[in-house]
């Protein structure tokens, strides 16, 4: 029967028809096996490392809570109790979102930078550009560890692209600082002093040197710090903007004063991965923003200690704080007196809000100034004064004072007087720019002796426990998953 074989033939056909290749290539993405092969990929790789700096726990949001609001210049009465607790050195869970982000996100940046540092040198491309890209990644890595070591102390030091089975161990603080110095020196050697217009925003040689100066400064290596910061001040070709307020709007980006900025953009390009600065939406004034943090009264009063030569308030006040200024204060299109008629004594953070747009949204397009000449001059002065060169510190301080219409300093200030003046200028110049916490740390002010003063500045310090609250607790998940990490003292 001939047709008996027909089914068998059909069967064979079906069997063969199914035998296409089992392998399925990922149609969506390249893999690490196919990437890191050409110049374009090297550039997109390092761009992605910069992208990580926009994360919430990097420069996007939470550092302002950790450095400014946790310090004595700010406080929180957020209805988000756990956030308010964070400003009061208190946690119900160490995995509390901001604390988790402050740990995860800089390490995310480190992972990206480590990939660039490990893989780009293998790529065949122009050697200068290749070295530059690796240098940028080293700067980015150093910047991440600079924040991690300041907030968490002894943390794992990871210098290779991460592998799933690795459990990196807590590393002594001194070794982390040493690695930051090494990365920055290597970066400074290969990075250009400036970039063409299209690449403005990448790390320059001067950014690396300035951060190296700050690294020495935090380790109280005063003369080394002064040498690096002086190099930036004297040879970097930077200059102050005429108007202090221009630093904090969209016109003040990548200017002659700028040494390193994290670049932010508005919410129209979220699909590209590029994001905006989001802390101002949280810390800005109630109504347009959420007022999850406010300036302390003590900080506010610092601005009234000295009038300008023309008898006015220090102009930095009205660019830093929304308050009920008798001369008028516009808060997103409505006067302070009208908007807050029931609480005229309240103070709100103004710096970095887009008050000039009339409306506040999450993604704010202002670049965050990580280092700018105005700040570096004061840090330079701080380094000189602590190194015993008080007289040399006068000139940089006066440059900062002159811009805002303050008279030059009287001559013959003692080291202590000069220290007080520098601290005062840092407060006024660099509020909401992360510096206050660094200052408290390097001048040993987070201590039992100074604690009563801090409590007077900011009652949140009533919850500060010496020996514990100087550092943040390492997130619980890290401690749970990584047996080689040691929780910070007091948080165990």
């Amino acid at each position: 029967m001939r047709n008996r074989y027909l089914p068998l033939a059909l069967l064979a056909a079906f069997l063969l028809a199914g035998c296409n290749e089992l392998v399925q290539e990922n149609p969506n993405e390249q893999t690490t096996d196919t990437f890191w092969e050409n110049r374009e990929q090297a550039v997109t790789g390092v761009n992605a490392a910069y992208n990580g700096l926009q994360d919430l726990g990097a420069y996007g949001r939470w550092l302002n809570f950790a450095y400014d609001l946790r310090s004595d210049i700010g406080f929180s009465r957020s209805p988000w109790t756990d956030l308010s607790n964070f400003m009061k050195f208190t946690f119900t869970s160490y995995d509390f979102e901001p604390n988790a982000h402050l740990w995860q996100h800089p390490y995310g940046v480190v992972f990206r930078a480590n990939q660039v540092i490990a893989r780009v040198p293998e790529i065949e491309m122009d050697a200068t550009e290749r070295d530059r890209i690796v240098g940028e990644a080293k700067f980015i890595r150093a910047l991440s560890y600079f924040n991690l070591v300041t907030l968490y102390g002894s943390v794992p030091l990871i210098l290779e692209p991460s592998q799933p089975e690795v459990r990196p161990a807590s590393t002594p603080v001194a070794e982390i600082w040493a690695q930051i110095e090494k990365d920055l020196k290597e970066a400074a050697a290969v990075l250009p002093a400036t970039y063409g217009e299209a690449d403005k925003g990448r790390a320059t040689k001067w950014a690396a040197i300035a951060l190296l100066g700050r690294t020495y400064l935090q380790q109280q290596k005063w003369s080394e710090a002064a040498a690096q910061l002086g190099d930036v001040v004297n040879n970097g070709g930077f200059d102050l903007l005429a108007n202090y307020g221009d630093l904090f709007n969209q016109n003040g980006e990548n200017t002659k004063e700028s040494i390193f900025e994290v670049q932010f953009t508005d919410d129209q390009r979220l699909s590209t991965g590029a994001r905006g600065l989001t802390f101002p939406q949280m810390t800005g004034p109630c109504g347009p923003a959420y007022c999850d943090g406010n300036p302390t009264q003590w900080y506010f009063q610092e601005f009234f200690k000295e009038k300008t030569t023309s008898g006015q308030n220090d102009p930095r006040l009205n660019y830093t704080i929304f308050w009920n200024d008798p001369n008028g204060m516009d808060v997103f299109g409505e006067s302070f007196a009208d908007r807050y008629a029931d609480r005229l004594n309240d103070l709100f953070w103004k710096k970095y809000t887009e008050y000039y747009k009339g409306r506040s949204i999450w993604d704010n397009a202002i670049n965050f100034k990580v280092m700018r000449l105005g700040g570096i001059l004061l840090l330079y002065a701080d380094a000189l004064n602590e190194a015993g060169q008080t007289a040399q510190a006068v000139a940089p301080v006066n440059r900062v004072r002159a811009r805002v219409g303050l008279s030059p300093l009287a001559s013959g200030l003692t080291k202590e007087q000069m220290r007080a003046e520098i601290e005062h200028q840092i407060l006024l110049e660099l509020g909401m720019e992360h510096e206050r916490w660094f200052y408290l740390v390097r001048h040993n002010l987070l201590t039992a002796q100074y604690l009563p003063t801090l409590k007077a500045h900011d009652p949140e310090f009533n919850f500060f426990e010496p020996g514990k609250s100087e550092l943040l607790p390492i997130p619980q998940t890290e401690v749970d998953l990584n047996p080689n990490v040691t929780q910070n003292p007091g948080w165990r």
Partner: protein, 1009 residues
């Protein structure tokens, strides 16, 4: 959709018109019980091949006009074997019906073969058609609840949300699924098939490796085989109409404080913190009951119409249904239209057939965590406040809370999940040569899933960002194809029975995703992408996978006494790297039917009371490939861009997630021992199984330390888990004339133990605040928390709480604060003091069913219970933490000097109360034991006379009342002790996103003619 219903009606009329009319003659007779000669009332008597029929009266007698061409009558009655009798020239036909012998004659689908229950050696359970029809269930999962030992079903009350089904414990740890494989008429599905339960003929669950072996790589978590209804050969055209309508409600309301009670305690909390009272507590203006605002009376309705029939060589079924459900929480609902066509044709050596189901459903899902907010929001805040943008009330400095208005959360957002699905199979079977058949089966599933999420501009929380109205719309498209080529061989030689299958199967799946986003809607009634003006965004991706298998299986039986099954298969999966794609898996089982031994009847006791006695044992391994596609290679993520220069996008791309190129098949091996026992003329049956299942090379999405800086969790093959369980199903059936009873008790125990884990046995933490821990030597997902040890009554007690070294453990505590146990005795309360406080997995789950019939009245009663589980209650954390402004439970009495005996700490607003509110403590863990009256059904079947008078001869009409989830005995403070948890690793966590199971009252109607 109106149109669809019209079409259906038209189809019905068309078919009805085709019914033939014939000359008739009268036949009468009497139907009795063959055993005792007692008359049987209500027996269905039908002329074979037609719709003509009647039922016997109280005396068991019947009269019937049969068409002249009719050649036989069929007598059927619940609990008895259906008998077909040739008519011949007779006008009187008396029949004695045999009591049904359930055991042994049920046909069970086991992989690619159907076997008689008697010959099965694996662990297989089934839900019979009767069990499905007595209780009208809204979903297929509902039918499985408590029904099958070893099968755990956890559901929610959310309309249209699938339940979680776990067969025999957990073989998998990670982000993947533990869900079983569903095989619907031969089509493999990994997710719960959205079927109309009216279309289901039977459900079988294959639990052990031997039974599941033929379905291979996807069967490692058990297989649920669903067979849909078909037309019967040689029956007339029959029309079935079923419908029920009812209402649903949340069975419980948590007792919260009214505004005055709340204000008093809130003032106390502020006073204890040394703060002036909050304005809203001093002069409250509202008294909102947020639960009343959030819950509503839901409604459910279901209609199904089916037409079936068959000739000698062809059968058909056409069925259409509509279900509509309005949830018991506002703004939730589900509706579904479904249509099914099943048919089969035999022509010579060729059989052709198809099953095809079309459905469209729309689900409005629950949004956010409304149940937390329903107890967290202050009673002093109104639900609606016209002064706010969007019109909702929320926290203010005077009523300071960060809670979200749960009503606003549901109302401001439309959330439509629309699924259009076509699924089915087309098959052909050829009788090649004697006893050898070739079958080709083509299965298909096409699904379009669209989600539309429009959020109006509305403030619902204090400090809410002023976000523009926005729309997310996603379109997902899945096509899944299955090709099966099978050769089966069947032969009986003397007492030897052999049955073998060899086959080749291949499945491919393609999944495409496309999403679009816009915001800035000046007219919020235009909820389409085109009407948005700002922040245009979109994304899309595609994945594909292939699974290929070769298999062989042999069943051998000698004299129905000694049984043997062996399988081998080789599976290849595209999910693994090139070197690890293929795996080989074996299984085998043996059975010994003692009751078939010649000596059995001579045994004392056993021989006289035991009708069937079978011992079973099986062992086998199966592979598991439940990991995402392409997981073996580390992807470079695009669109990690930065801005440079004059605000220009600089493209970025880099690796974000780690990957494991060596990932390979997980091996699940299972040993099963079972006993089947039937006693007392099959009235009493016991099925008992004990199994040990071990999963090696466990596919674990092992969390990695955050310091590695990588997102996601790479899959590794590491570790193993052992599940052990005992399952018992005991059934007693009583079949009297006027009274029938069918009662079943099912017991399930599951004990899982982690034997080893990835990364040097690194524990896996999961759940909110990392509250559960999966560690070697313990069970999956044990709560790992601080131990509370009462309340400090005085400063002296604070000072007396010392370590053995004399260190005061909680020096900052005040009277009224919680005393935590310093379990490691280091003088500190820290992470190291956490202990295992039980888990969300019950030790014992039970189902008890009592179904019966008294004359024309039928009833069903079922209970379900789970014992030994603990619940971590996130709602309780929010109501009882007392350092945050929430509403408080009416039952709590926080410590105060006047109320020193309390076990609730003092209320302190803010940071000083934070220690008492520590998230990872056993304060939030509760006993999860419960006993639930799952179902009460009462039905009445109208006598044949009645329907005959209605003009519907030869028909059945039943009306019933069904009460589901009538009452739950439980100590749990919040809504529902049965919860689906937060994934397998955090089972038992009530996260406040879970819709409590609802109580449902329905009345229904079944009509067939």
């Amino acid at each position: 959709m109106q149109k669809l219903r019209q079409c259906l009606l038209y189809l019905v009329l068309l078919l009805a018109a085709a019914l033939p009319a014939n000359a008739q003659r009268a036949i009468s007779g009497r139907v009795t019980d063959a055993a005792d000669g007692e008359p049987l009332p209500g027996v269905n008597v039908v002329v074979q091949g037609t719709t003509v029929g009647t039922a016997t009266d109280v005396d068991g007698t019947y009269q019937l006009q049969v068409p002249s061409g009719a050649d036989s009558l069929s007598f059927s009655y619940v609990g008895y074997v259906t008998q077909t009798v040739a008519i011949g020239d007779r006008t009187t036909i008396d029949v004695g019906l045999e009591s049904a012998v359930y055991e042994g004659n049920e046909v069970v689908v086991v992989g690619y073969t159907t076997e008689r229950r008697r010959a099965i050696t694996g662990a297989v359970s089934l839900v019979t058609p009767e069990e499905l029809t007595i209780r009208k269930v809204a979903t297929m999962e509902e039918a499985l609840k408590g029904r099958i030992p070893g099968v755990v079903v956890n559901s929610t009350g959310e309309p249209g949300r699938g339940a979680q089904i776990i067969v025999r414990g957990l073989n998998f740890v990670g982000e993947g699924t533990n869900s079983p494989l569903y095989v619907v008429d031969g089509l493999y599905m990994r997710e719960n098939p959205n079927l109309d339960p009216n279309d289901i003929a039977s459900i079988q669950v294959l639990k052990d490796a031997s039974a599941a072996a033929q379905y291979g790589a996807q069967a490692a978590n058990g297989v649920i085989v669903i067979t849909t209804k078909r037309g019967q050969t040689m029956t007339g055209n029959r029309i079935n109409f079923t419908s029920y309508v009812g209402m649903q409600e949340i069975p419980k309301k948590v007792g919260m404080m009214d505004v005055n009670q709340w204000a008093a305690l809130n003032k106390q909390a502020y006073a204890n913190a040394g703060l002036p009272p909050m304005e809203g507590a001093v002069s409250p203006k509202f008294n909102t009951d947020w639960q009343d605002a959030l819950f509503q009376r839901g409604a459910i309705q279901n209609y199904n119409l089916s037409i079936t029939g068959g000739s000698q060589n062809a059968t058909y079924l056409v069925s259409g249904g509509y279900t509509n459900q309005m949830g018991a929480i506002i703004e939730t609902g589900f509706d579904r239209y479904n249509l099914r066509v099943n048919s089969e044709l035999k022509k010579g050596i060729l059989t052709l057939g198809e099953t095809a189901a079309f459905s469209r459903s729309n689900r409005q899902a629950l949004i956010g965590f409304p149940l937390i907010d329903a107890v967290r929001m202050l009673p002093s805040i109104p639900v609606y406040d016209p002064n706010n943008i969007g019109g909702y009330g929320y926290g203010t400095p005077a009523n300071n809370t960060f809670g979200t208005n749960p009503i606003g959360m549901q109302e401001r957002e439309t959330n439509d999940n629309i699924s259009n699905q076509v699924l089915g199979t087309v098959y052909s079977e050829l009788g090649l040569i004697k006893r050898l058949r070739y079958r080709f089966n083509f299965g298909f599933q096409f699904e379009d899933f669209t989600n539309s999420n429009f959020i109006r501009r509305a403030f619902i929380r204090q400090n809410n960002p002023d976000e523009r109205a926005r729309l997310w719309q996603t379109g997902d498209n899945r096509s899944s194809l299955l090709f099966e080529n099978l050769l089966t061989f069947d032969n009986t030689v003397g007492r030897h029975n052999i049955n073998a299958v060899a086959g080749y199967t291949e499945q491919t799946e393609n999944y495409e995703h496309l999403a679009a986003y816009r915001e800035g809607y000046s007219d919020e009634t235009l909820q389409v992408i085109n009407a948005g003006t700002m922040n245009l965004n979109n994304n899309g991706y595609e994945v594909e996978n292939t699974l290929r298998s070769f298999l062989a299986r042999v069943n051998y039986g000698y004299a129905d006494r000694y049984l043997l099954t062996a399988s081998i298969r080789r599976d290849g999966s595209s999910r693994f790297g090139p070197d690890n794609r293929w795996g080989t898996f074996y299984s085998g089982s043996v059975g010994w039917v003692l009751s078939e031994e010649p000596f059995f009847e001579s045994l004392p006791v056993l021989g006289s009371y035991v009708n069937n006695f079978k011992l079973r044992a099986s062992y086998g391994t199966l592979g598991n490939q439940d990991i995402p596609d392409y997981a073996y290679a580390a992807a470079i993520r695009q669109n990690m861009s930065y801005v440079l220069g004059p605000d220009a996008i600089a493209s970025g791309a880099i690796q974000l997630n780690l990957a494991n190129p060596n990932i390979r098949w997980q091996d699940n091996s299972m040993t099963n021992f079972g006993v089947d026992l039937s006693l007392l003329n099959y009235r009493f049956q016991i099925l008992a199984d004990y199994y040990i299942s071990t999963s090696d090379n466990l596919l674990v999405a092992a969390p990695i330390p955050w310091s590695l800086g990588a997102g996601g969790v790479p899959y590794v093959n590491a570790g193993s888990i052992r599940n052990r369980g005992f399952e018992l199903g005991a059934t007693y059936r009583y079949m009297g004339h006027d009274f029938q009873l069918n009662s079943t008790l099912n017991l399930t125990t599951i004990k899982n133990e982690v034997l080893s884990l990835a990364n040097n046995n690194q524990p896996v933490f999961a759940g909110p605040f990392g509250v559960t821990r999966t560690a070697v030597g313990g069970p999956i997902g044990a709560y790992y928390v601080l131990k509370t040890d009462g309340i400090f009554q005085s400063d002296a007690e604070v000072q007396a709480h010392k370590s053995s070294q004399g260190k005061v453990i909680q020096p900052n505590a005040k009277p009224g604060d919680i005393r935590f146990a310093d379990l490691n005795d280091d003088g500190l309360i820290s992470d190291l003091d956490r202990y295992n406080a039980g888990s969300g997995f019950p030790d014992l789950e039970a189902g008890f069913f009592l179904d019966g019939k008294v004359r024309n009245v039928d009833f069903g009663l079922s209970f379900r219970s789970a014992i030994g589980a603990k619940i971590f209650s996130v709602p309780k954390f929010w109501t009882d933490r007392l350092d945050d402004n929430s509403n408080y439970r009416r039952d709590i009495q926080p410590w105060s000097p006047e109320n020193p005996s309390s076990d609730t700490p003092r209320a302190v607003y803010g940071t000083q109360g934070a220690a008492n509110a520590t998230a990872v403590s056993d304060r939030w863990i509760e006993n999860g034991d419960y006993l639930r009256i799952q179902n009460v059904v009462l039905g009445y079947t109208f006598p044949a006379r009645f329907t005959q008078n209605l003009g519907l001869p030869n028909s059945g009409l039943r009306l019933y009342v069904n009460l589901q989830n009538l009452y739950t005995f439980s100590k749990y403070t919040f809504w529902d002790p049965e919860n689906v948890g937060m994934g397998i690793l955090a089972r038992g966590v009530d996260d406040g996103q879970i819709f409590p199971n609802v109580r449902t009252y329905t009345i229904g109607l079944d009509l067939n003619f």
